[in-house]
C-alpha cells in the first residue's frame, strides 16, 4: 500500500519544468535581456554601416566596414584618451578604497557620538544630483591653496583645475561608496573589534589588521563600481579640463558629435564600441561582485 503511494507523492513533489509561473518568469527575463542587449547590438551593428545606411533604419549593415574603426581611431589621439581614462579610473579607485573604506568603517564600527546622524547625512548626500554641486565643487577645486598658482588663501591661480588632482580627488570621495563600505563593515560581528580593543590594538590597527582583510570581496565590489563610474565620467572632466593632455576617452568621443546636425554615427558607434569593451570585460569577470555589491547595500543596522 505504502509502496504504491510513494511514487505518486514523489511525482507530485517534483517541480515541473513547465509551470506557468516559471514560463512567465523566463519570458519576462528574456524580454528584459533583449531590452538591455538591443542598444549594444545596435551600437555594434551601426559601427559597421555607411552613412547612407544609417539614414534608413535597418539592423544589418550591407557590408562590414571595419575601416570605420581604424578611421575613427585616427581622427584624434584616442590612444592618449584611453591612457587618460585608465589613469583616472585607477587613481579614483585607489583614492576611493582608502577614503571610503576608512569612513565606512568609522560609521559602522566606531563608537562615534552622532554616528547615526552622520550616516543619515551620507544617505541624504546620495540623493543630491551631481549637477547641483557642479558649480560649488568647481569653485572649491579652483580655490585649493598652494596649487596651480594659488596662494595660501586659494586665490590668484587655478587650483586643481586642469590637473590630475582635480580629475581624481573630488570624485574619489563618493558618499555612495562610503555607504557601500559601511554596509559591508556592519555585517562583521562587533565582538571582533571589541576583542581587539581589549587586547590593546589601536583603532587603525583594528581597521587595517582585523576588519579590512575580512571585507576583501567588498573592496573588489567597490573597486569594480568605481572603475566603471570613473571610466564613464563625462561632465566633471569636461568642466575642469581644457588641455587635451588630460582629457579622457568619453570627451574624445564627443568629437564625432561636435555638430549636432552632422553627427558621424558610424565613427561615434565604432569609438563607443571600443570604449565599452574594457567595461564589458570587467563585467564578465566581476559580475558576481556587481550583484553581491547591490545585494549588500540592503538596509542593515
Amino acid at each position: 500500500m505504502t509502496s504504491a503511494t510513494l511514487p505518486a507523492v514523489a511525482a507530485a513533489g517534483k517541480p515541473s519544468a513547465f509551470r506557468p509561473g516559471r514560463i512567465l518568469l523566463y519570458a519576462g527575463l528574456v524580454i528584459g535581456a533583449l531590452l538591455m542587449i538591443t542598444p549594444f547590438l545596435w551600437m555594434v551593428l551601426t559601427a559597421f554601416k555607411s552613412e547612407l545606411e544609417i539614414l534608413k533604419f535597418s539592423w544589418l549593415p550591407g557590408e562590414l566596414r571595419w575601416s570605420n574603426f581604424s578611421e575613427a581611431m585616427q581622427t584624434a589621439p584616442f590612444l592618449r584618451y584611453f591612457r587618460n581614462s585608465a589613469l583616472i579610473a585607477l587613481g579614483e579607485t585607489a583614492f576611493t578604497l582608502v577614503v571610503c573604506t576608512t569612513a565606512g568603517y568609522a560609521l559602522a564600527k566606531m563608537p562615534l557620538r552622532g554616528g547615526k546622524l552622520m550616516l543619515g547625512y551620507f544617505i541624504v548626500l546620495l540623493l543630491v544630483p551631481f549637477q547641483i554641486i557642479l558649480v560649488p565643487l568647481f569653485m572649491i577645486v579652483k580655490s585649493i591653496p598652494l596649487f596651480g598658482g594659488n596662494n595660501i588663501l586659494g586665490q590668484g591661480g587655478i587650483g586643481w583645475l586642469n590637473s590630475w588632482w582635480g580629475l581624481i580627488i573630488p570624485l574619489g570621495a563618493a558618499p555612495f561608496f562610503t555607504f557601500l563600505a559601511r554596509q559591508f563593515f556592519v555585517s562583521l560581528p562587533d565582538e571582533l573589534a571589541q576583542a581587539a580593543r581589549v587586547d590593546g590594538l589601536g583603532e587603525f590597527g583594528i581597521f587595517w589588521r582585523i576588519m579590512l582583510p575580512l571585507i576583501k570581496p567588498a573592496l573588489i565590489t567597490i573597486g569594480v563600481f568605481q572603475i566603471e563610474a570613473a571610466w564613464n565620467g563625462f561632465l566633471w572632466p569636461l568642466m575642469i579640463t581644457t588641455s587635451d593632455e588630460l582629457r579622457p576617452l568619453q570627451l574624445g568621443l564627443a568629437i564625432f558629435s561636435q555638430n549636432p546636425a552632422e553627427i558621424q554615427w558610424p565613427y561615434l558607434m565604432a569609438g563607443t564600441a571600443l570604449a565599452t569593451l574594457p567595461m564589458i570585460v570587467l563585467f564578465v569577470f566581476a559580475q558576481k561582485r556587481f550583484i553581491e555589491g547591490m545585494a549588500n547595500v540592503g538596509i542593515k543596522g
Partner: protein, 426 residues
C-alpha cells in the same frame, strides 16, 4: 614617536607646497602693452574647431597667425561643443576665470551681453557698417544688444527646404514649381503623404524637422510671413501672424508627418526618402562609397525657400566675442582678426559644414563643394532668424520648445501659449 610624526607632517606639508608651485597663475593685464612684449595665456572657448587631428592642425594655423603679432603669448584652446558650451561658460564665470575669447551662436550674445559677460566691440571699431562691408549683414541683429556690438560673425549656418523630384512627379506635381507659401506647402504635403491601408503615414509629405521642439520651425515659418519673432528684444509673435503660423504647424503634425518623427541618423528625412519634402541643413554630402547620400539621391533633390509673403532661409551662425573681464582684450581682438582671415574661415567652414561668414560666401570653397551649400550661400540675402532676442533667450528656448509642443499636440490653447511666451520674454 612624536618626533617621527612631526617629521612626517613636515614632509607632507613640504610636498604639498612643492607640488603647488607651477604654472596656472592668472595673468596680469596686457592691454596697452606693445603686442611684441605682451606675455600671458589667451584662453579661448570655441565650438568651431572639432578637437580632431585635423581640427587641431587648422586651429594651430590660426594661433601661428596670431603669434606673428603677439609672439610671446600662449593660446589655450578649449574645444567645446554647443551641447556643453553653457556649462563651460557658466562655471568659468562663477569661478572668476572667464575666457578671453568665447565663440557662441545666434541667440547667445544678448543673454551674456546683458549680464556684462561680453565686452563691447565698438571699442575696436566694430560697427554694423563694418559687418555689412566684410561679413554677413543678416547676422548684425544676432551680435547686437542695446545698440552695441558684442560679437563678430565667423560662420553662417543656413537652412533651406528640399523636395524629391521623383515624389513630386509621382504625385502629379511639378518639381520645377515648388510650393512656397504655407497654404501651398500644406496642399502639396497632403498630396505627397503616403499611408498604409490602416491610415498610418508611411511617407511624410513634409518633414518639419521638429522632433525635439518647434521653436526653430515656428521662427522660420513666422519669418516667411514677414514677421520676425522679436523686434529690438520685444516679442513680436503674440499676434494674428503668430497664431496662424502655430495653427498651421498644428494642422501639419499627424496629418502630413507623425509627431516626433526622426530617423536613426537624425538627418533630414527627405534625404532618405522618408519624406517627400522637408527642412534641410546647409550642406549635403553627395559622395558615394558610403561617405555621403550618393549622387543619385542628390540628383533627385531640388532646393527652395519658404515664401509666404517674404522669401526667407533660416540662418544661425558662430559668433566670436571677448570676455568683459579679460585682461588680454587687445590680444583677444587680434585673435578674432586671425580667426576671421578668409583662410581660417574656409577651414572652419569645411570642418563644420557651414558657410564662412565673409562677404563673398557664395564663391567660397565650401559653397562650391556641394549644391545645397551653394544654394544657401546664394540666398544669404534672404536670411532670417529670431532677430534681436531678449536677455533671457537661453531660458526662453526651452520654454518655446515645451509650450509650442503642448499647443501643437492640443494640450494647450495656441493663443494662450503665445501670450504666455510673450509674457515670459524679458
Amino acid at each position: 614617536m612624536r618626533r617621527s610624526v612631526g617629521l612626517t607632517l613636515l614632509a607632507a606639508a613640504l610636498a604639498v607646497v612643492a607640488s603647488g608651485c607651477g604654472s596656472g597663475v592668472i595673468d596680469k593685464s596686457t592691454d596697452g602693452v606693445a603686442p611684441a612684449e605682451a606675455t600671458g595665456t589667451l584662453r579661448v572657448l570655441l565650438p568651431s574647431f572639432p578637437p580632431s587631428n585635423e581640427g587641431r592642425a587648422q586651429f594651430q594655423k590660426v594661433v601661428e597667425d596670431f603669434q606673428q603679432k603677439y609672439p610671446k603669448m600662449k593660446v589655450e584652446p578649449d574645444f567645446a561643443t554647443y551641447n556643453n558650451l553653457n556649462e563651460k561658460m557658466s562655471t568659468s564665470i562663477a569661478a572668476g576665470i572667464p575666457y578671453d575669447v568665447m565663440v557662441t551662436g545666434v541667440g547667445w550674445i544678448q543673454p551674456f551681453a546683458s549680464k556684462r559677460i561680453f565686452a563691447d566691440l565698438g571699442a575696436y571699431g566694430l560697427t554694423p557698417d563694418v559687418i555689412k562691408e566684410k561679413s554677413i549683414a543678416a547676422l548684425i541683429p544676432a551680435v547686437t544688444y542695446d545698440g552695441k556690438m558684442y560679437g563678430y560673425p565667423l560662420l553662417a549656418d543656413a537652412r533651406a527646404v528640399a523636395l524629391r523630384k521623383s515624389a513630386f512627379i509621382e504625385a502629379g506635381l511639378d518639381p520645377e514649381k515648388p510650393p512656397a507659401s504655407l497654404a501651398e506647402l500644406k496642399i502639396a504635403a497632403e498630396k505627397l503623404t503616403k499611408r498604409d491601408k490602416d491610415g498610418n503615414i508611411t511617407r511624410s509629405g513634409f518633414d518639419l524637422a521638429s522632433a525635439s521642439g518647434f521653436r526653430q520651425s515656428f521662427t522660420t515659418f513666422l519669418a516667411s510671413t514677414g514677421t520676425t519673432l522679436y523686434e529690438d528684444g520685444e516679442p513680436n509673435f503674440d499676434n494674428q501672424a503668430g497664431l496662424d503660423t502655430l495653427l498651421w504647424i498644428k494642422s501639419m503634425i499627424n496629418n502630413v508627418q507623425p509627431y516626433g518623427q526622426v530617423n536613426a541618423a537624425q538627418q533630414p528625412l527627405v534625404y532618405s526618402g522618408e519624406a517627400a519634402m522637408g527642412i534641410v541643413g546647409g550642406a549635403v554630402d553627395c559622395g558615394t562609397g558610403g561617405k555621403g547620400i550618393g549622387q543619385k539621391n542628390c540628383d533627385d533633390l531640388k532646393f527652395f525657400r519658404f515664401n509666404s509673403g517674404k522669401e526667407i532661409e533660416y540662418l544661425g551662425g558662430d559668433l566670436a566675442s571677448i570676455g568683459s573681464r579679460s585682461v588680454h582684450k587687445d590680444a583677444a581682438w587680434s585673435f578674432i582678426q586671425s580667426l576671421t582671415q578668409p583662410s581660417s574661415l574656409d577651414a572652419m567652414a569645411k570642418l563644420n559644414r557651414k558657410l564662412p561668414a565673409y562677404k563673398d560666401a557664395s564663391n567660397s570653397p565650401q559653397a562650391k563643394s556641394n549644391p545645397l551649400s551653394k544654394f544657401v550661400a546664394d540666398g544669404l540675402v534672404y536670411a532670417a532668424n529670431e532677430n534681436e532676442v531678449p536677455a533671457n533667450w537661453l531660458e526662453m528656448r526651452g520654454n518655446f520648445d515645451i509650450q509650442l509642443t503642448q499647443a501643437v499636440l492640443g494640450q494647450k490653447d495656441p493663443a494662450k501659449v503665445l501670450r504666455n511666451l510673450a509674457g515670459q520674454s524679458r
